[in-house]
Amino acid sequence: MHPYALTIHEAAELLADGRITAVGLTEAVLARIAAVDGRVHAYLRVAAEDALAQAAEADRRRAAGEHHPLLGIPLAIKDVLCTAGLETTCGSRILEGFVPPYSATAVARLRAAGAVLLGKTNTDEFAMGSSTENSAYGPTHNPWDLDRVPGGSSGGSAAAVAAGECLGALGSDTGGSVRQPAAHCGVVGLKPTYGRVSRYGLVAFASSLDQVGPLARDVTDCALLLEAIAGHDPLDATSSERPVPAYRRALGRGVEGLRIGVPREYLVEGTQAEVAAAVEAALDVWRGLGAEILEVSLPHTEYALPTYYLLAPAEASSNLARYDGVRYGYSHPEVREMWDTFYRTRGAAFGPEVKRRIMLGTYALSAGYYDAYYLKAQQVRTLIKGDFDRALERCDVLVAPTTPTTAFRLGEKTADPLEMYLSDVFTLSLNLAGLPGISVPCGFSGGLPIGVQVIGGAFQEEIVLQAAHAYEQATAWRRTPPL
């Protein structure tokens, strides 16, 4: 097997046995990037020299007696996470050339564990999108079919993992942006419970919805990455003080007696027949492993999309007010007075989707409309969260498709924003409710991957991982795309 195709835990064993060095592993992955990224465009920048230096440092640390599952493992970071000394653009022109003076906590924790950072992956601008087509630097191509999208907004990270251009990656998930691209690229992607992972250094999109999440080739790898990045951070007041379990110990517990709820409202028109069939087949696998499947109801499901598309843009309109051409980032050169700097910088350097969402959010928060839109959406959010709380009283996890269809073609949905938003119909609710969810590969249709989603109660990542792992071990969907 090519070193670039190894899982993190497989590579960790080889590193521990001395059968491969971190430098050797990193060189292999860099060579893979050189071979395929011209076609995939998963990366916005590759920091090869730094990566090799970090790999050499990891080998030295191992020789000195250190061991950690991530020591020497080459990973990719979505370009919405700050990396000290390494340009961070959020896929936007407004941050072109911006070099953060600090690293996101999640990134710092990976580095502390000895992971090697290969570079920054492509993203929809400020994480706003479901296809990575909103990147100001060109789209990423799905490694399974280069004419198709990898999903978004963490499309670069998902594609990089799928294509062997890293052994794992970090993404961010505000409405499905880790899980949906994971499904479209045939990899595993996890959104933790809100507050499980620090948001410090994650460039804010919607502060009550954003979470950093891992993408990897299997569930064990996701568990290892989550363990490394999770936990309280004094720099993020929304981070939970709950202790971090050793998530890897949840794996292998099986699903005997596990109650799996299937939300009846998720059997929607517009779900591709093969996707529905693959999820049904997955439920059969779980049934065969001893789980109990029952139907549940999330009655307010149809309201999740309009709720999200009022709350997320409202929060974004506030968070993106900081991009004003004054303290960092792009600054429009043709200005007479202060206000011109604001208007022209933002008008010139934000892309259309970002402007759309800022305007939508501004409107929803504005005088006279706040109650009708923003407050109303917050009230519906309460109802949506309530649905999940009630359903999870009767079962341990919920299972649903991750996406209604397999990956669509580049350019297919860019004309109609609403159509694009519908790709997130199965993922949005979890961000509104703050619950953890994982997408694992469960089949293919026409050569394109399908993902199934496992959803848990707040801080129940162990059960989510346990259920996902059991399914994964009973099936064999891990494949390398025909690049």
């Binding site: 309109s317 007075e337 008008g347």
Partner: protein, 99 residues
Amino acid sequence: MPMPTRLTREEVLHIADLAKLALTEDEVALYGEQLSDILAHAEALNRLDTASIPPTAHVTETRNVYREDVPRQSLRPDEALANAPDRQDDWVRVRAVFE
């Protein structure tokens, strides 16, 4: 609680002004249409009676997180201003605010 069916050009310009976005005429027209479509979709929320439902602003279990008022290391001025478009010593320079 008025929910207009389509945004007028004046409303779009007002929103752009609040958001400090300079838009071209084409953008004003395009975004006006698109925003109206999205808002029309959001009208679905009116089917729900939420009169007695408390709003959820966030789903975190944390409340009023404090720390001791003890100074600690933060960014040095040169680190903080390293990305400034127009910098003079430890100052960021901007265009005139007042005429």
